[in-house]
Subunit: 359 residues, 2 copies
Amino acid sequence: MHTVDVATPGGLYPIHIAPGRLDALAQVIPANATSIALVTNPTIDALMGERVLKALSGCGIRIVTVMLPDGEAYKNWETLNVIFDAMLGAQLDRRTVVVALGGGVIGDMAGFAAALYMRGVRFVQVPTTLLAQVDSSVGGKTAVNHPLGKNMIGAFYQPIAVEIDTDVLNTLADREMSAGLAEVIKYGLIMDAEFFSWCATHAAGLRERDPELLAIAIRRSCEFKAWVVSKDEREADLRAILNLGHTFGHAIEAGLGYGHWLHGEAVGCGLVMAADLSSELLGFPLQDVERVRELVTAIGCPVMAPKLAGIDQWMSLMQGDKKTEGGAINFVLMPRIGEAIRRTAPAELVARVIERNTV
Amino acid sequence: MHTVDVATPGGLYPIHIAPGRLDALAQVIPANATSIALVTNPTIDALMGERVLKALSGCGIRIVTVMLPDGEAYKNWETLNVIFDAMLGAQLDRRTVVVALGGGVIGDMAGFAAALYMRGVRFVQVPTTLLAQVDSSVGGKTAVNHPLGKNMIGAFYQPIAVEIDTDVLNTLADREMSAGLAEVIKYGLIMDAEFFSWCATHAAGLRERDPELLAIAIRRSCEFKAWVVSKDEREADLRAILNLGHTFGHAIEAGLGYGHWLHGEAVGCGLVMAADLSSELLGFPLQDVERVRELVTAIGCPVMAPKLAGIDQWMSLMQGDKKTEGGAINFVLMPRIGEAIRRTAPAELVARVIERNTV
């Protein structure tokens, strides 16, 4: 089993990575827990709900299952309230442990609900998509979307443990694998050129779900993210580099309406656009823009974004993004592969990049 | 000017207490703020909105006023969303400062919104009721109510400053003064028998709003609460003693429907019930139960609670309270005036106390 320890201001929590972790979930439920709120969706429940319930029943405490509708389109205020209604309706108390079983949407909402329920109960992340395993389950960001922007309403709240069962990746659709790999190569782009090259070398194997390659990719990704988060829990400076590709990506998701593109697909495409803008603004080598485009293609993500309603909509969607400060749009850009910085970009350059990378 | 410094895990923040503080609000808005979201209600706005806007205009930054409906009945999820809609609609960014101008309901909701908006922006409390000045503005508890219980959904989130203008107490209705004084005498009951006696001696003067007496009562109350909060930000043990009278009080508020009794009135009545239960369970002297009843009467709060739908409803409302753990009801009780402890109580004793103190 691989273990990555994540340091936060509130203390350490472990990420466990191994095949079969689902069956060991009872181990991470604290002895003084009075009940478990298992938050999941019907898709995940059909695939592994029974197995997880069996594992958790080892705790000998009450388990209340909270079923949420499946999809980013439901990552909102109303669905969050479904969790509160269910938990309060079952009279769950402050020693309840929330278990988030699902992808990033389930993790973000269950974590947010845990942060707010009676002003905070413990929670355990059990991410079931590659994207959630390498990204959203690490770092304590929880949130819901708002019609005016993604993840606008949220909290920083840390789990007591993250349990990653590498077996569950076999249940994923190909698109979801590709979306998750986009976040994996992002870590190479922002922090480690060698890891980027490793991903390029093993793109086919990763996409075909070679278990050994995936275990390495997940562990390395969690280590990168854990390192960044330990330095900077709030998204002040360092942590912002994790948003490489995300300003473009958010515009794609928001412009098409959440749920059309997978988040990771939008990020993958956003990485290409960020590389292109980096080339315009920071002299990021043109041949490396091509390497990024090739790897994003190789992992199966789109490299051309939708035109939406034109440049104006793009700009307004990006200005509404919460990384905006005082009107100017902040981007995360790369001087070279393996290094990322924050930079504001002139509107005409941004427009040119959007023009060039949309169909 | 009186200043009380409140220590929290995240750092110190000051409480300033003085006549005329409203006019000095610009002083506490940080220089790097990009905008101000002034959250208030029409009642407060009519009384002092213009004056506050004038004071804040000294910052030279954009001010967006968010008007909430007035009353505890609106302290809910839907009203919270009104704040988010307004702030996102105005494209306020992460360097926005939320200013909560109003009583406890405004403070709790504006603080909660500040905690969640883009995962946290700064906020300043400007409490305009005595209750908010001595209680809810100190300690970082923010929340909204749920149909199944009061303050069930919330967060711990600290303001950057609390500005208490003692002049504004002249705008309060008599009932609101009485409700605030209930929380003041609570501090005497849980921590300082001498302060309890001081309150008994000066009950008439406090009720008549003698400014010097009020300034002392507010400062002492903030000091007590700040001390408790500094020891124990989360409501694990010590902080729980601040809930003296609140388990009974919450049942009254929830049973009648929020907004019928003022929170402080329910707490005042709850103090008498807690004293009575303390006498049954801990030998709290009977003559001191009478002293509590007399002082609660003297400050103008009710000492008899409503019967509601009978004992069963009372018990179920108290069991639904979030201080419940694993089924048993926790109370805060007093061995003597000036000392409070947590204790679970047998249902038949609780029923007897409810029987005796309801009409």
